[in-house]
Amino acid sequence: MTALRMVFYLLAILIVASTAMAITRKNLVHAVLYLVQSFFATAALFYLLGAPVLAALEIIIYAGAIMVLFLFIIMTLIGGYTGSRNHRQWIFPSLLGLASIVSAGVLLFSSPASETGLIAATASPASFGRYLFDKYWLPIEIVSLLLFVALVGALYLGTHKGKSVAQIEVEQ
């Protein structure tokens, strides 16, 4: 077993374990922290697989922005603790999880590429960007349009049908 493989399996265990901890915590702030840990391990995995840009973006966007928003909402609205959990809510997620594990297993064992080991390689930021915008410029534009639509929607909801919060307060 090469060092690369060992680190890979170590990270994989860390990701699975911390994500499992995240979905079973009753204290929501602890759940967020475990999820942040899982994102860190994912970033390390990206770095290991030769994608430093993706690793950095994973931390900037997921650990540094989205999870902070989660934390912000938990702190302002709920205060960190939820009551006892309903056990029936486990059924549907565990079915979905089982389905994805089975399909991943089928993919893994049916593909001949799964036999080859990990190769150490890195994509420099410049070559990564050139590749992405040469070959996949259309999907990128579509995704950014989607995000823009979501942004406009959020803005509309936030201003409460075109009125600012201050205006609504004045009317009340």
Partner: protein, 330 residues
């Protein structure tokens, strides 16, 4: 065999950078108090040692000897680790800052930085985005209303200004054509980027002031309304870690301003390291001057400045830089 030598050199570099940064942080406390005193027409500390020079030592000793209090109902583990995050973040960022030109010993050239990452700038943004956890979790774990209010404010503020902090650096990357901080310094061989990117410089400067929770953006710790904000319940060395983190991040942000906009260690006559130190100190001194001059902004003013002025300005600046770069290169 050679990797052992490389490892030892790396360890020496890390030790030197750590030592210098801690020394600078202690020095900054004294500089701030002295300068604030002068700006407010008083003397500042002048009792401990000659000219009050030993004040940081006295402060450090006092904080070390104070009782470490944990409030009842606090989330102990998070309460213990949150201050460390704040102190750790600027130290990690210092790992990618090039301090000087390559050191030449005989034939071998030793780069005077800890790690030249090809995603150095993204590394800075990624690590900087984590400091919000120290502020938000420290206040939450304290189980106190003032702390909680401070950390909610802190989370909102840091996440708002992170955007303009990151976007203000996009034109710098476009000009340098690289994320590596070494390449960015090398790209400023002819002229520093502040001459061609004054708007970016201004946005980065204001955002970094907000990111380090300094007046006029110190709403998360606003003393007269929130006692001490997110660090109300901290005492002794844990409080000192928050304090230390703030001062180290001032110095490190100064170093980053020097690297991104002032040409890094480049300059005439004086040796590179001297230039770098001079340029690094400009930003902290400016921060202190601003603190003595401006009152704290209101919360809605803070959000308006971040989202309605700085962010659109960033985007316009990126488009303009792209357009001009296309014109010049074609």
């Amino acid at each position: 065999m050679w990797w052992i030598v490389g490892f030892v050199v790396l360890l020496i570099k890390v030790a030197v950078v750590l030592g210098v940064l801690f020394g600078f942080a202690a020095g900054m406390v004294l500089v701030e108090r002295k300068l604030l005193g002068r700006l407010q027409i008083r003397y500042g500390p002048n009792r401990v040692g000659p000219f009050g020079l030993l004040q940081p030592v006295a402060d450090g000793l006092k904080l070390l000897l104070k009782e470490d209090i944990v409030p009842k109902g606090a989330d102990r583990i998070i309460f213990f680790f949150a201050p460390a995050v704040v102190a750790l973040v600027p130290l990690l960022i210092a790992a990618v800052v090039p301090f000087s030109s390559d050191l030449k010993i005989g034939e071998t050239r030793i780069p005077v930085l800890i790690a030249d990452l090809n995603v150095g700038l993204l590394f800075f943004l990624a690590v900087a985005s984590l400091s919000v956890y120290g502020v938000a979790l420290g206040g939450w774990a304290s189980n106190s209303k003032y702390s909680m209010l401070g950390s909610v404010r802190g989370a909102a503020q840091l996440i708002s200004y992170e955007l303009s902090l990151g976007l203000s650096l996009v034109p710098v990357v476009m000009l340098a054509g690289s994320f590596s901080l070494v390449d960015i310094v090398n790209a400023q061989a002819e002229y520093p980027f502040i001459l061609v990117q004054p708007v970016s410089f201004l946005i980065f400067f204001i955002s970094s002031m907000a990111e380090s929770n300094r007046l006029p953006f110190d709403l998360p710790e606003a003393e007269n309304e929130l006692i001490g904000g997110f660090h109300t319940e901290y005492s002794g060395m844990r409080f000192a870690l928050y304090f230390l983190g703030e001062y180290i991040s001032m110095v490190v942000l100064g170093a980053l301003v020097a690297v991104f906009f002032l040409g890094g260690w480049r300059g005439p006559v004086l040796p590179p390291l001297a230039w770098f130190l001079i340029k690094t100190m400009i930003t902290p001194v400016f921060f202190i001057w601003t603190r003595a001059t401006l009152p704290r902004v209101r919360y809605d003013q803070l959000m308006q400045l971040g989202w309605k002025i700085l962010l659109p300005l960033c985007l316009v600046n990126i488009i303009a830089t792209g357009g001009i770069a296309l014109l010049v290169r074609s």
